[in-house]
C-alpha cells in the first residue's frame, strides 16, 4: 500500500497486513517527530505528485532488490512529538535485501517526494525544515 494520510498510522496492523507466506524478514522504518525543542510539526504535501513519486520509488526498489513487498505511508497535517511521520515496510525472503531496500527507499524519498515540514518550537518559533540537497524529484532533468 502506498498512501498519504492525515490519520494516526497503525504500524502493527500494517506490518501484519504486509506478511506473505514467502517472507522470512520484514524491515520496518518509523520516522517520528523528534523533540529538538520542538512541540509539533505541520507537514504539507503536493499530493498527486507525492503519491505518484512514492509509487515510482516502490517500483524501483522492487526492480532493484529481490524483495516481495513495499508499503509506504506518509502522514501529513499536524503532528506532535513521538507521532509517526513515515512508515516504510519491506518484506523479503531474507533480511539483507530487506534492510538494503529500506534504506534505499528512505534516502530516495527524502530527496524527491514533494512534502515539507514546518516545526513549531516550544519557544514559539516557527521554522521550515530545509530540504536535503540532491536531485529533487525524479521526473525530468534538473532545471
Amino acid at each position: 500500500m502506498i498512501s498519504i494520510t492525515r490519520d494516526v498510522i497503525d504500524t502493527g496492523t500494517m506490518i501484519e497486513a504486509a506478511k506473505r507466506p514467502g517472507m522470512g524478514a520484514l524491515v520496518t522504518f518509523c520516522g517520528v517527530v523528534r523533540d529538538d525543542g520542538v512541540e509539533r510539526m505541520e507537514l504539507e504535501v503536493y499530493e498527486e505528485v507525492a503519491v505518484r513519486e512514492l509509487e515510482t520509488i516502490r517500483d524501483e526498489a522492487m526492480r532493484k532488490y529481490p524483495i516481495e513487498s513495499v508499503d509506504i505511508v506518509h502522514r501529513v497535517g499536524s503532528l506532535f512529538v513521538g507521532e509517526t511521520i513515515l512508515l516504510v515496510i519491506v518484506g523479503a525472503g531474507h533480511r539483507k535485501e530487506a534492510f538494503a531496500a529500506s534504506e534505499y527507499i528512505i534516502d530516495r524519498l527524502k530527496r524527491t517526494v514533494p512534502i515539507w515540514k514546518k516545526e513549531f518550537g516550544r519557544d514559539g518559533e516557527e521554522r521550515w525544515v530545509p530540504g536535503e540537497p540532491g536531485d529533487q524529484t525524479s521526473s525530468p532533468p534538473p532545471g
Binding site: 504539507e44 505518484r52 512534502i115 515539507w116 530545509p130 530540504g131 521526473s139 532545471g143
Partner: protein, 90 residues
Amino acid sequence: MKVRVKAFARFREILGSDLPIEVPDGATMATVLAALRDRAGDRGTAIFDEGGALQAHVILMRNGKRVKRGDLDTLAEGDEIAIFPPVAGG
C-alpha cells in the same frame, strides 16, 4: 487563457496556495514567473533574486512533471504549474 499555480511551504506563505492566473495565448513559463514576481513583491526574495531570476533551489513543475526554469514551451489552458522549495519529507 487561465492556468493554475500551486505554491508550497514557504512559497505558499508568500504567494498563496492555489491561484488562477490569466495569461495571453502563447504564454510560456516566463509569463507566469513574471506574474508571480509581481504578486510576491517585497516578500519574494526567497523565490527571486535581485535581478528577478529564480533562486537556485526553486523547483518548477508543469502538470506534475519537473520542467527547466528556462523552458520555452507554450502553456495550455488549464495547465497546473507548481513552484516549491527543496522537499523535506520523511
